[in-house]
């Protein structure tokens, strides 16, 4: 079994760029949880990491949007944001694993796009900053379209995740799978700053239980009702597909008003999965 680690965590720019704006107690609880995730990731002795992630008009625009784009570059540069208060880095890719994922997706009747040239923004770099700060673990970013409707459905993202999970389980390497983004937030939109804590906690419950039926049966509209950015939970639902029912543990959840988002941090018991 090569699925050796799984987690989900937020990627709000404020986590680094406006860290002092958050109440210290909330910030410390989140940093503590991210530190826990890093310790578990290191204990898993990973060879590479697959990320279900989002980007924010960094690479892709309306001239060509894919529902999912798999990064098969030799290396990725990021972050693109000079104001993010983290160093720019080159992160190695894992193009052979990316190719195996692409091939398996085709066999599962899913046709993702792919890219040999992808830059990373805060959506991927903030999680990496906390999980793999030396930036040496090779990655396969899988960017799900969370920007331009129509978005892929949760049902479909779950299937994508299942295909990815199958590849990872068959792979000889020790692979981690993570989801980034969410939870409720409406960045740059009318309800910027509104956090729907009850929505977030229900979603965390479904992830905690590995409840495939609940995750698959969300609709894009239900996610979007919690804010334009809450559709990034499609990444988490894809992770749910990869996990095949594995239980999760919520290490932290904080509705951080100055960062204008609900932030969750979860770890999953991949060894106990069927």
């Amino acid at each position: 079994m090569a699925l050796s680690f799984a987690c989900a965590l937020g990627h709000a720019p404020g986590i680094l760029a406006w860290r002092e704006a958050a109440p210290a107690a909330q910030r410390e609880r989140l940093y503590e949880a991210f530190g826990q995730l890093r310790m578990r990731l290191e204990a898993a002795r990973l060879d590479c990491l697959v990320l279900f992630t989002a980007e924010h008009w960094a690479n892709f625009f309306l001239d060509h949007m894919s529902p999912y784009c798999i990064g098969r570059a030799q290396e990725f540069a990021g972050p693109i944001e000079p104001w993010l208060k983290m160093d720019r880095a080159m992160v190695p890719g894992a193009p052979d694993l990316a190719e195996a994922i692409l091939t398996a997706c085709q066999e599962h009747d899913i046709e993702p796009g792919f890219s040999y040239e992808m830059q990373l923004d805060h959506g991927t770099m903030i999680p990496l900053h906390f999980l793999t700060p030396d930036m040496r673990l090779p990655i396969v970013p899988i960017v799900i379209n969370t920007l331009a409707p129509p978005l892929p459905t949760p049902r479909r993202c779950f299937l994508l995740g299942r295909a990815v999970g199958g590849v990872v389980r068959r792979d000889a390497r020790r692979v981690g799978v993570i989801a980034t983004g969410g939870m409720s937030h409406d960045p740059g939109e009318l309800n910027h700053g509104r956090i729907d804590e009850s929505f977030d906690r229900k979603f965390l419950d479904a992830m905690k239980l590995g409840d495939a039926e609940r995750l698959r049966s969300y609709t894009v509209d239900q996610l979007r009702a919690a804010g334009a950015g809450a559709v990034e939970l499609l990444n988490w639902i894809a992770l749910g597909g990869a996990l095949e029912g594995a239980r999760g543990e919520v290490l932290a959840y904080e509705p951080v008003v100055p960062w204008a988002t609900g932030i969750g941090a979860m770890s999953f018991d991949v060894m106990g999965a069927s």
Binding site: W57, G188, H192
Partner: protein, 84 residues
């Protein structure tokens, strides 16, 4: 009708240093490079955030565009909420 072109102009200003410099030098000159309707062109040239938002520009394009012009979060939100 030309929301695509409007968003493309804003995305180019956000991401392409040459386009950004062109916009800062002459908003009308930059706007003329894109097939915009009269109201879109006007909103872009005047950086009318309320109008741009109402025309359908995505928040993650419009808010970074406003940051280029040092607009505070509070002022930006007041504008798009029609209270500016």
């Amino acid at each position: 009708m030309s929301l695509y072109a409007l968003q493309k102009a804003i995305r180019d200003v956000n991401r392409d240093p040459a386009k950004r410099a062109a916009f800062f030098a002459s908003p009308a000159g930059l706007a003329a490079q894109y097939p915009l309707s009269a109201s879109e062109r006007d909103a872009l040239e005047r950086r009318d955030y309320a109008a741009l938002y109402a025309l359908g520009v995505h928040g993650l394009l419009l808010r970074p565009f406003s940051i280029l012009h040092s607009v505070s979060e509070a002022d930006y939100l007041r504008a798009i909420r029609g209270k500016g």
